[in-house]
């Protein structure tokens, strides 16, 4: 099979925040380290991981909308060229679209319709929006309302519609479905899948592993700001085919797989343990885990663990 063209290649990406401690002493807070994700044409990549593992920061980093005290490192390569600030500015909203995590991203002072059409009034964009809204069970009157007049689920659907308006090459969906019921989640997911099948790359950031597995081609697992596993979605059918102990723990935590949990919490970036960040919670933990852990190829996937086989 012919290797598909890479749309976005994220290499050794890092984000750190500059913070003031007592007085004027500055410290860097490295929230994302050693992150590698590749998205190809027609591919849907799901990023799963615990809250606070830096998933949303990745999305905002790609679009260049991180807060001013954040510093990015590593490389973002879009369409074979380095993604610079200028390119980010030109591409976002056109070729690269974001479905943001919070309904607070909608402009509260602008009516829904004009907001989603970005002010365009021509017949074509009107009809397109009507069509999209119909698909999401939103009545046409909704376009004349303000965001605060809609329910949480309706605002969600409005946010998702923004991605369907243009002809995006890369869609970044940051937790697009919480607050939606199952049937609607499926519909939204199938629309993202359609976008991918038409050739766009889709990066789906979520913690709903079940949904991700239904539609995505690949799953990237985040833990404490780094990628621990990059696996085919099929590998999540059983615990044995997974590689990293954290991915296995995620699998076991699904209600239908026993609803088991592991002790402890994800470490705060300031007091990360040496070596493997998952080490203190891991049953495989040994001396070897205290060193630098690099990514390895194991059974066709990539994993950041010395013990994985």
């Amino acid at each position: 099979m012919e290797e598909k063209k890479v749309i976005l290649d994220i290499r050794n990406f890092s984000v750190s925040f500059e913070q003031y401690e007592k007085g004027f002493r500055k410290t860097g807070l490295p929230v994302i380290r050693n992150l590698d994700v590749t998205i190809r044409e027609g591919e849907m990549v799901a990023v799963v991981g615990s809250s606070g593992s830096g998933k949303s920061l990745l999305a905002h980093g790609i679009l260049g909308i991180l807060p001013y005290n954040a510093t990015m490192g590593g490389e973002l390569v879009y369409d074979g060229e380095l993604l610079t600030k200028e390119r980010q500015k030109a591409l976002r909203g056109n070729e690269i679209v974001l479905v943001p995590q919070s309904v607070a991203f909608l402009d509260p002072l602008m009516k829904i319709g004009p907001q989603i059409r970005k002010g365009k009034k021509d017949q074509a964009s009107r009809e397109k929006l009507n069509g999209i809204f119909e698909g999401y069970h939103l009545k046409n009157e909704v376009q004349e309302l303000y965001p605060f007049e809609l329910s949480g689920g309706m605002n969600r659907r409005v946010l998702v519609s923004t991605a369907m308006m243009g002809n995006p090459r890369l869609v970044i969906a940051d937790e697009p479905t919480p607050g939606l019921h199952m049937a609607m989640v499926r519909r939204v997911m199938s629309h993202f899948r359609e976008l991918a099948d038409q050739g766009a790359g889709v990066l789906l950031i979520t913690h709903d592993l079940e949904q991700a597995l239904e539609v995505a081609d690949r799953v990237v697992v985040f833990y404490a700001g780094t990628t621990v596993e990059d696996a085919d979605a099929k590998d999540f059918r059983s615990e044995e085919t997974l590689r990293h102990p954290y991915s296995k723990a995620l699998w076991r935590a699904l209600p239908q797989n026993g609803f088991q949990f592991i002790r402890g919490t994800q470490p705060y970036v300031k007091d990360l343990p040496e070596g493997c960040p998952f080490g203190p919670r891991c049953e495989w933990y040994t001396e070897a885990c205290k060193g630098e852990i690099s990514c390895r190829e194991v059974r066709g996937g990539r994993v950041r663990c010395v013990r994985a086989v």
Binding site: S51, G153, M154, G179, L180, H181, A253, P255, T265
Partner: protein
């Protein structure tokens, strides 16, 4: 104890859609009831009515045959909200947020995995998952008899979800607290609840 909602009707404002119409539910304190429905069906509104945050246009809510208002300052029906960041005072440290309700026993705070140094932070300095643990602890006061969990775990990762749920199930069983769980996830409700109600196909 028995929590009863009798023929509840509700709408926000006069010209809007009727959200709840003649809806009734009866649950006992040893039960764990799950509710599923599409968004906009009034699940949150129903929880708000059950816990006294909203007055129904018609019908009544009774706890052991008496209205909620007869139970003094602390309502025995407590609600855990879907968005914890919207229900904590941003100017209070988490330590003070915990003290806002009834007296809370220390093992609850520990069992939910709340760490000592989180308590000194302000709401803006902790993550959603951490804040939700505080909100759950706050709702588990000594006099709580019914707990309404409105999509409390959608924003949490899987491991935190199972951690919190297994603690909650243990706690409500031990203290015979009735639990009403609202969620979109069928597998979750099936493993948490003793009875599931689908509002769409009633």
């Amino acid at each position: 104890m028995v929590l009863e909602a009798k023929n509840i009707s509700f709408q926000y404002g006069r010209d809007t859609k009727q959200i709840l119409e003649n809806f009734s539910l009866r649950m006992e304190s040893h039960e764990r009831v799950g509710i599923v429905a599409p968004s906009g069906f009034g699940k949150t509104t129903f929880c708000k009515i059950l816990s006294g945050y909203e007055k129904p246009d018609g019908g009544e809510v009774l706890l052991d045959g008496k209205p909620l208002s007869s139970y003094g300052r602390y309502c025995p029906v407590q609600m855990i909200w879907q968005h914890p960041e919207q229900v904590v005072n941003p100017r209070l440290r988490m330590r003070e947020v915990l003290k806002q309700g009834d007296e809370i026993e220390e093992y609850i705070v520990e069992g939910l995995g709340i760490e000592e140094d989180w308590k000194n932070r302000f709401p803006a300095e902790i993550s959603g998952g951490e804040m939700q643990r505080f909100c759950i602890a706050r709702a588990l006061g000594r006099r709580t008899r019914f707990l309404l969990a409105d999509e409390i775990s959608t924003m949490l990762d899987l491991i935190t979800q199972s951690q919190i749920w297994s603690f909650l199930i243990g706690e409500v069983e031990r203290r015979e607290i009735g639990l009403l769980a609202v969620s979109h996830s069928m597998p979750l409700l099936e493993s948490v609840c003793t009875r599931i109600i689908d509002l769409e196909h009633l």
